[in-house]
């Protein structure tokens, strides 16, 4: 019955997730319930969804790359931390399944939102002057977020944006561009590991890949046109929605 509409709807959910991810994060909250609603087993849905969103993340990074002209060496180091974290997180998931972990997720999302919203205040206490700085805490934070990304992943983008804006001196737009690269990398690594050991539905991967890539393309094209404060508000609203969505689930 649902078969005629199933693939277009999954692709559409992928489009929405790709667009949200390219600007904020937590697009998974759109695709994952869609897949579960169509009756796919949660593990298949989770793993296939994770893999399908990877091309979208890289399309988003391509679209936002101009924010990071010249940041090659900074970005390379951050990618290393994120990839390492993603690997640890994925291996941890194999050993300790995420059963009760969902209880913590909303708090992590709220933390990310709070950090981003509190950025102007934190900066006043934290810095003597406007400066971009990759400190030890930021490095550790990226590594831990990478672990979280490999382990669970939902809304790691919001946490990264909070971390980078509050403690690394990045603007929201640059933080978002960096996040696209970092989240994409930790998801890719986790995705490869899951693909080797968990059941993957490649039709889902394909549908979501197509949707999320197109969505990311559109999202990164128009995301930059939003004024900074409206953009913060958008991240806040998406973050809060995601957190409440978890509480209700």
């Amino acid at each position: 019955m649902a078969n005629v509409w199933m693939w277009p709807l999954i692709t559409l959910a992928g489009f929405g997730a790709g667009a949200i991810n390219s600007m904020v994060g937590s697009g998974t909250l759109l695709t994952f319930p869609t897949l579960v609603a169509f009756g796919f087993p949660p593990i298949t849905a989770n793993v296939s969804n994770n893999l399908g969103l990877v091309p979208g993340a890289f399309a988003a990074f391509r679209g936002s790359r101009h924010e990071l002209i010249g940041a090659k060496s900074r970005l390379t180091e951050m990618l290393g931390w994120s990839a390492g974290g993603g690997l640890v997180g994925a291996l941890a998931l194999l050993k300790f399944p995420a059963k009760n972990f969902t209880l913590v997720v909303p708090f992590l999302i709220l933390l990310g939102v709070a950090l981003m919203l509190a950025q102007p205040i934190i900066i006043k206490f934290h810095r003597t002057q406007e400066v971009m700085r990759l400190s030890r805490s930021v490095r550790v934070g990226i590594f831990l977020t990478g672990i979280y990304g490999g382990y669970f992943g939902a809304a790691q983008g919001i946490i990264l944006i909070g971390l980078l804006t509050a403690f690394a001196g990045e603007t929201v737009f640059r933080a978002n561009a960096i996040k696209n690269a970092l989240a994409g990398t930790s998801n890719l690594i986790a995705g490869i590991i899951f693909a080797l050991i968990a059941p993957v539905n490649w039709s889902i991967v394909l549908a979501i890949s197509i949707g999320s890539t197109l969505g990311a393309w559109v999202g990164s094209k128009y995301g930059r046109k939003i004024p900074t404060n409206a953009y913060r508000a958008l991240i806040g609203v998406v973050g809060l929605t995601a957190a409440f969505r978890f509480w209700l689930a």
């Binding site: 010249g70 900074r74 406007e130 400190s135 030890r136 603007t171």
Partner: protein
Amino acid sequence: MRVIELVDVGVVRSGNSILTGIDWSVDADQRWVILGPNGAGKTTLMQILAGSLFPTRGQVTLLGERLGSVDIFELRPRIGICSSALSERIPPEEAVSDVVLTAAWGVLGRWREGYDLWDASRSLALLAALGVEHLATRTFGTLSEGESKRVQIARALMTDPELLLLDEPAAGLDLGGREDMVARLSKLTRDPLAPVSILITHHVEEIPPGITHALVLKKGTMIAAGAIEGVLTSDVLSDAFELPIIIDNHDQRWFARLGG
């Protein structure tokens, strides 16, 4: 990707045109030298690139951000600068290691900021890369001109800048100091992870191998810009310095002398 884009940029100061009609762009994989006689507008151009001077006319885009529509305080931390104007502000009693370290917070003089082990090891690694790690505990005021210049470059690199501006880094150095500086700058400009570098000088002998492009200024106008081999010719430099100059190139180094 464009790191710098200048469209019809001009600067007028009390009725005098200091720069006129500069159309110039720099891509991410290029390393430039800006050449020209004294008073040609090199320093003014550098101030524009540093985001510290807004031109009278034209459009300037630095690191993808258009001057005038970007918060300059968000842009400046991404640009590393090494110039004698900046070095004069470094307190002479500051320890050399702190001169580099304090760049992490964008300050001069250590106060209450916190530094972690990464900051400390990065500043020492940069001092070592520039061959001055043995001076770490000295005070800045006791350094020779050459040592001071190298410490300043380490400071400019401390924040991992995305654009590096070097204003006459080899000025005032003796022959050994100059050659050592050229060799270190050559290493820097050849490093694919190093920031896009713009070097200002008026001596072609100070151009390190690794510089790919050159821009020549004369009386505020750009008389040549492009790949270095095409720009550094006897004709162009004779025009710029208004003297018959012959220029030679050996082993990727440049040498100029007066022609007959």
